[in-house]
Every structure is written in C-alpha cells, then in structure tokens.
C-alpha cells in the first residue's frame, strides 16, 4: 500500500467513529392524523423516537394491528453492533499502520460482508415485526402484512412508511467508498510505479 491508500484507509476507519454519535437509519410513519410524522431512529446501540414520545406512540398504534412492541433493550443486535463497528475501526487502523495490501482488501471485503449481513438481519427483523402478529389484534386485514420496506416507502393502511439510511448510515457508505478509493489508488499508483521502474 502506498502512503495515500494508507491515509485513505485510516480516514475511512476514523470516519466510522462518527456512527457512534449519529443515527444509522430512520423509519418514518406519516398518516392523515400524523401530518408531522412519527419517526424512529436506529443507532449502533439504541432506538430512539423523533420526539421523546414517538416510540411510545408507534408502539401504541401498533397494538391495534397486533404488532409486538419495539423494546430496544430486547434487541440483541444493538448490543453487538458497537463491537462490530469497533472491530472495523481497529482493523482498518491497524491495516493502515502495517500497510499490507492484503489487509486493505480484507478490510473492504469484511466491511461489504458485514454490511450485507446487517441489511439481511434488518430485513429479517422487519419481516418478523410485520408478519408475526397477535391473532387477537382488533384490526386484522387478511393477506396484509405490515413489513416496512428495506429502503423506500410503502403504504401500510393509513400510514405511509418510509425507511432510509440516516446520517450515520450515509457516513458508513462514505467510509466504504473511501475504502474502495484506497484500493483504486493503490492499484493505480503501484502500476504507475511499475511503469516508471521499467525504463530504469
């Protein structure tokens, strides 16, 4: 790895520190009687509402369709995720210090795999909340599940549900992009280096 790629990898790793302080993802529900919307933010280690009471109100409304309450303390992913991110940061910084090309590749591949696994897990989580409903719920619509989209918007009864990355999520994407950039720089400059070396 050249110094530029090492710097980029270090930058990508350090950027991830910001994801501890900014939400990764947001789910928003807008309905005729909730024009201001109800919001839920997913962080590395917790779930919060757009206001102090949004999560409370989302759970209150969800009981009509038999959806189980969202209880952040009971979600194991939120306990693991901080360590996964921590691992990525440490791994990336160590690789930048050691400067081995194989470590850069390994870091980017690990990041991609973790990202895919994370999204798959998120989908499973949404699927479970959307389908695993209390049979005694007051409102039952045959054939309708309440799974919010992975990314995008979907009408669920009176609620327009949207699910998108939030600032922390975008930072993770940028971090990964910088990782790819580090690979690209590494390839380009090492080839240029070779070309320069040849005539000599």
């Amino acid at each position: 790895m050249n110094i530029l790629s090492r710097g980029l990898l270090a930058l990508a790793s350090l950027l991830l520190i910001l994801t501890y302080f900014l939400p990764l993802w947001r789910i928003e529900l807008v309905a005729p009687q909730y024009p201001e919307g109800l919001r839920m933010f997913i962080w590395v280690n917790r779930i919060t509402g757009g206001t102090e009471f949004d999560l409370y109100n989302i759970n209150l409304l969800n009981h009509y369709i038999g959806m189980k309450p969202i209880e952040p303390e009971a979600i194991p992913e939120l306990k693991i995720l901080p360590f996964i991110i921590g691992f990525l940061i440490a791994f990336g910084l160590l690789s930048a210090i050691l400067g081995k090309r194989v470590l850069l590749y390994a870091w980017v591949i690990t990041f991609v795999l973790l990202g895919v696994a994370g999204l798959a897990d998120f989908y499973k989580w949404e699927y479970d909340y959307g389908h695993n409903l209390d049979p005694n719920a007051p409102i039952k619509i045959p054939g309708l599940a309440y799974q919010p989209p992975l990314i995008g918007t979907r009408q669920l009864l009176n609620m327009l549900a949207s699910s998108f990355p939030d600032v922390g999520g975008y930072i993770a994407v940028v971090s990964l992009f910088i990782g790819f950039l580090a690979i690209a720089m590494d390839l380009r400059f090492s080839e240029a280096g070779k070309a320069e070396v040849k005539p000599a």
Partner: protein, 659 residues
C-alpha cells in the same frame, strides 16, 4: 332610553349616509353595508389549515370565563375556564380543582369576568400570562399561556365590585384592583345611608411576576367613590397607575340620577413607587382581613388554598404624594395612557368633550402645587393645570380608548354607536366609523403597550339585534373587526362572542404559539393517586372509601371490570391518561354520577367522586372520541347492597381475584 337611542341612531344615519347619498332619505340597508369594502373578504380570509396572525382573549362577562379567537378570521379557538365551574371538564368539581374556587365566602362557583390583561416586559407583551378580574367576589386570576389553563387565583380583601382590574404595570410587577362598590372598611353592620361616613374605596397592588406567589403588596385607602377602570403608565409615566372614579356624589341609591350630578368626577393618579417607599418606611397599617390565595401545581396535578389573615393598608394622609385627583368630566369610564406614556385620555360617559391630560404637565402641577382642594388627604389638582387639551364634540358616550402607535387614539362611543379616530397631540377627530350597535370597549392588538400593532381594531358591541340569524330573545354579543392600517377605518368582518365580553386583548400569535405545551409529561406527574403503568392500576378500600387507581389509553381502561363496591361507599376514580400524544384527551363518565364528567389531558390525573345509591351494574365510558375503537372504551362497576360480602375484584381482559 331606548327611544333616545333610536333618535341618536337615526341622527347618525343622516350624518353618515346623508353625505354619501347626496340628500336621499337614509336607507337602513345602505347604513348597514356602506362601510363594507369589496376587498374585505380577502383581508379576513385565512385558508383552512393556515393560522391566524393574532390570538384574541375576550372576557366572558357573566359566563365567568375567557374565550380565545383567532384574528382576522374570527374563528373560535378555546374557552378557558376561569371563575365558573365547568361540568364539561370537571373544573370546579374534581378534588384537584375545587380549591381554585375557595374564597372567604366559601366555594364560589361563578363570577363575572371583565378585563383580560396580557403580561408585559418593558411595556410590551411577553406572552407569559393572561390576568383577568372577577367583578362580583373580588379576585384576579392568572392564566398560563403555555397551557391556556387557570393556574392561580387571589382574592382581594376590603373590596367589592373588582372592576378597575387587572391592568398591570409595564414589567408585570403588579396587577391592580379597585372597588367599583365602596363598602365599609373593615366590613361591619352599619346603616346604608351612613355611606358618606363609613364607606371607603380601596386600590390594591398585587404582586404578579412570580407564578404561585401572587400577594396583595399593599392597599391604598380611598374616599368612598366608585372606581371604574384603570391603566398603568409606561415609559415616562411608569411608576404611576390611573383610575377613573364616578359617584363622587357618594350616592347610595338611584345612582342613575344621584351619581350623575357633578360636572366633574376624578381620575385618581396613584404613585406606586411612592407607595413602595411608604411601605418600606412602615407608613402603613397592618389590617386584619381574611382572603384566599389558590394555586394550581401542574406537577402535583392539584390546586391548594392558602388563607391570608392580614393586609397592609396605606392611608394617603400618612403617605403624602401617593395619590392625586385629576378633575375629569363627567362620570368617566376609561382612562387610557398613550403608547409614548405621555397622554392620558379620559372617557366621560356623560361628557361633551374628551379630556386629554399630559403626564408631564401633571407632574409640573404637583410640583407647583396647583391645587383646588384636598379630599381625605388626597390633593385635587387644578383641571387646567394638567390638561393637554379637550377633544371637542367627539361623540356621544365616549367610553374607552386605545392607540395605534402612529399618533392616533381610537375611542368607543356607546350612545352614538361609533368609533372615532383622533390625533391626540393635535386634538382633532380625523375619522369616525359606525358600530352595530352600542359599542362598549374596543381593542387594538398591543393597544395598551409601547408597541401597538395598528392594523386591526375590534369593537365589542353590547346590542346585536338584527346582525345575525335570530336565536330568540337572547343573542350573542357581536364583535366587529376594522382595518385601521389606512387613513379611513374600514369594517371588514363581524363575528359573535360567548358570554358578554367587556374587553379583550390581542397578541401576535408568534409570541405564544411555539411555547405551547402539547402534553403533560407522565414522568413528571406527582399526583398522589397517579398510576404510570397499567400493571400498577389497582383498587384500595379504606372503610367506606374506595380508591380506584385507573389508567386510560387508546382504547381501554385498566381496570374495566370492578366488583365489590357497596351501596354507601364513596368511590374515587383517580384516572390517569397514559397518552403522551398531542390532542388525545380521554373522558370518564359513570352512570348516575351527581358530579360532572372529567376530561383528562395526556399525562394528567383527575378524580371523579361517585356515591352509588342502589345495587346494580353501572357502565362507565370514555366521552372524548379518541380512536377507531373509542366506542369500545368502556367498563362496568358492580354495586352490591350495603353489608354485602362480594369480594373486591378488578381486571381488564383476564378476570383475576385481588392480589
């Protein structure tokens, strides 16, 4: 009286319309609509979903409350419950709110509200509180403008007919009170015709700038006249408050005639900074008096009453310079201070002129001792010494004046049913506009502050007659909105108001609307019987008292089935609304309740007391349509005969026995 009014109205028709129609006989329809410009509709149209520019707080007069409207649309926004019990919410019925109604005369379920006054900082509206007086059993209430709820009420001792009130000072140091009906001070059994010897007026200053700490700072003992309205000075005249008086004849019967004899009555100018000095120098008498101070603690969800036992009374003889009288023609009603604080306009109901006094000339007259005489230790200044000018032939029955911040005053004229606009420095009438009919007070948003918004004027009329679809002998009062941004006043809207608004004040909506509370945080609820989670809902029996710790949330009660209540029990339903969402109150009503229902706001606890009289099963339900399953939000209480041994049992969903 009525005949006279018709003649006057007819005369006015001729005056206004005659010129328009160039000599044609006046037509009624023409009179009623002539002032209405074609673009009026667009000036008052606020599209659905958009907000008004101003909140307006109208006193409710004999309904004892305050009504809030939006301006310019004239849409009703809320009725704030103040001095009258309200079965709709349970205000005055629940143990949480009953203490607000306590006075030295006991529980008083009603009063007569007259003058709202918005709190000020540096002579401008600050949007913190609204104060309003109770005329009948003298009191002043504080309304919190984050919740639009009454949070404090203080009784005024040594007073009767608290009319010149609350009219506070420019930093809300004080709100004031005065006696419209002088009475024996202290109260005692004396012949009514000993009025001149025994009856006194009082002018009170009540500390107002700390919630929960309202207190009568001092009272000034005044001659036994009728004190009518007040305004405190601002800018240069800060430190002074002005009160009109009539019945300086000291009549006690047939006042209509006997109190209308003197050509001049008085404006009392009170130097409250001087009064503070006298208090600090001990120049007052601590007089025994019993009066109540009631305060609602939002966190405890509970009002408490405190009984006060004495009051500081200043006799002007012992505190020279605290009070002066300005002779004022004739039976004056309003006394209003211009936005620059220099001019004081008296509204003599029966006078042919409107006197405009100069504050700086008044100070000079005091300095030069330009005195006519002295009454009970109060110097009477020479009329001309303090007078800036007399507005000649203004109108008939001038009552009350506000200012537009552009050098003009606007006075309501009851008898000639019109509003006049005048240049108060140049002393001339520049415009007049009819009202329908018999205007009392008027208001300009911020019209009693240093910074009036001279855009709108509202005339509050006492007589409605044919202005709306008829509703039998009793009609609502009418309010008419004028655009005063131009040279000519233009009537642009009319709407109808609840009770009998005597006065209103308006504030820029932006000064309040972002500070409004949407819910009461459940976590801060310190009500002794609150339950914050359904698992803690329970019932406790203490002899014949049964306390139900109940919760409400969309769309069920916990518990919703209750057994083991007996005839002879007093059941306290302590109901907590677990919602934390804006505009989701729940109601609670039980069949056969001799109390009211209760409306419980999100995060609040309220108690309904119920004494079942016969065995049976009684339904209770939510009265405020809260959700798609509101109609399912109900429950039952089983009442067994006295002495029955049906066990206490309660549940929601799954029957269980008592733990």
């Amino acid at each position: 009286m009525l005949g006279k009014k018709k003649v006057l109205l007819g005369g006015l028709s001729a005056l206004v319309v005659g010129s328009l129609l160039a000599g044609c006989p006046p037509k009624k329809e023409a009179l009623k609509t002539s002032a209405m410009g074609t673009d009026a509709a667009s000036k008052v149209y606020v599209p659905p979903g958009k907000h008004d520019e101003f909140y307006v707080f109208f006193s409710g007069g004999f309904n004892g409350q305050v009504t809030v409207y939006g301006i310019p649309s004239g849409r009703i926004l809320k009725v704030i419950k103040v001095f009258s019990v309200d079965p709709e919410t349970g205000y005055g019925f629940t143990p949480e709110t009953r203490p607000m109604f306590m006075t030295s005369h006991g529980f008083i379920p009603w009063d007569d509200t007259h003058h709202p006054w918005l709190s000020q900082t540096n002579g401008e509206h600050d949007g913190r509180w609204l104060f309003i007086n109770a005329n009948n059993t003298p009191r002043i209430a504080r309304i919190d403008l984050t919740t639009f709820e009454t949070t404090e009420i203080i009784e005024i001792p040594n007073s009767a007919g608290n009319h010149p009130s609350p009219h506070g000072t420019e930093n809300t140091e004080y709100v004031v009170a005065g006696t419209r009906f002088s009475v024996p001070v202290p109260q005692r059994d004396v012949p009514i015709d000993s009025y001149a010897q025994n009856f006194k007026g009082t002018i009170s200053f009540i500390k107002a700038n700390e919630p929960g700490k309202m207190d009568v700072a001092f009272q000034i003992l005044m001659p036994g006249f009728n004190y009518d309205l007040a305004r405190c000075g601002r800018g240069p005249s800060n430190g002074w408050c002005f009160f009109t008086s009539y019945n300086t004849e000291q009549a006690h019967t047939l006042l209509e005639v006997n109190a209308s004899k003197n050509d001049k009555d008085f404006i009392a100018a009170i130097n409250w900074k001087r009064a503070e000095e006298c208090v600090s120098q001990g120049k007052f008498q601590e007089m025994p008096a019993t009066y109540y101070h009631n305060y609602y603690d939002e966190k405890k969800n509970m009002a408490v009453s405190e009984v006060k036992k004495s009051v500081r009374v200043i006799n002007p003889k012992d505190c020279p310079g605290v009070a002066y009288f300005l002779p004022t023609p004739k039976s004056p009603h309003g006394v209003d201070v211009s936005d620059d604080g220099e001019y004081i306009v008296g509204g003599g109901k029966l006078a042919a002129v409107i006197p405009i006094f100069s504050f700086s000339k008044m100070l000079k007259a005091i300095e030069q001792k330009a005195l006519e005489k002295e009454i009970d230790g109060i110097p009477v200044l020479k009329y001309d010494a303090a007078l800036h000018c007399e507005l000649e032939k203004p109108c008939l029955g001038p009552l009350h004046t506000e200012f537009d911040g552009k050098g003009f005053g606007y006075t309501s004229c009851f008898v000639s049913s019109e509003v006049i606009k005048f240049d108060y420095k140049g002393c001339k009438v520049v415009d007049r506009a009819p009202t329908y009919y018999s205007v009392g007070h008027l208001l300009i948003p911020g019209g009693d502050t240093k910074k009036p918004y001279g855009k709108y004027l509202i005339a509050m009329n006492k007589i409605t007659k044919d202005r709306q679809l008829p509703t039998g002998p009793e009609l609502l009062q009418s309010a008419q909105l004028y655009d005063i941004s131009g040279e000519k006043m233009q009537i642009i809207h009319e709407f109808f108001t609840i009770g009998e608004p005597h006065y209103a004040q308006a504030i820029l909506a932006d000064k309040i609307k972002d500070k409004i509370k949407k819910i009461y945080p459940l976590a801060e609820n310190e009500h002794p019987y609150a339950v914050k989670a359904e698992k803690d809902a329970r019932i406790e029996r203490k002899g014949n008292e049964v306390h139900v710790y109940m919760t409400m949330i969309r769309s069920h009660f916990v518990p919703d089935n209750i057994e083991g209540i007996r005839v002879g029990d007093t059941v306290y339903f302590h109901v907590t609304n677990l919602e934390q969402d804006w505009d989701i109150p729940h109601g609670f009503a039980v069949k056969g309740s001799e109390e009211a229902e209760i409306l419980v706001m999100p995060g609040q606890t309220r108690t309904l007391v119920w004494k079942p009289k016969a065995p049976g099963v009684y339904p209770f339900y939510c009265t405020d349509f809260c959700s798609a399953l509101h109609q399912e939000m109900q429950g039952y209480v089983r009442v067994s005969p006295a002495g029955s041994n049906v066990p206490l049992r309660y549940y929601t969903g799954t029957p269980t026995t008592q733990k």
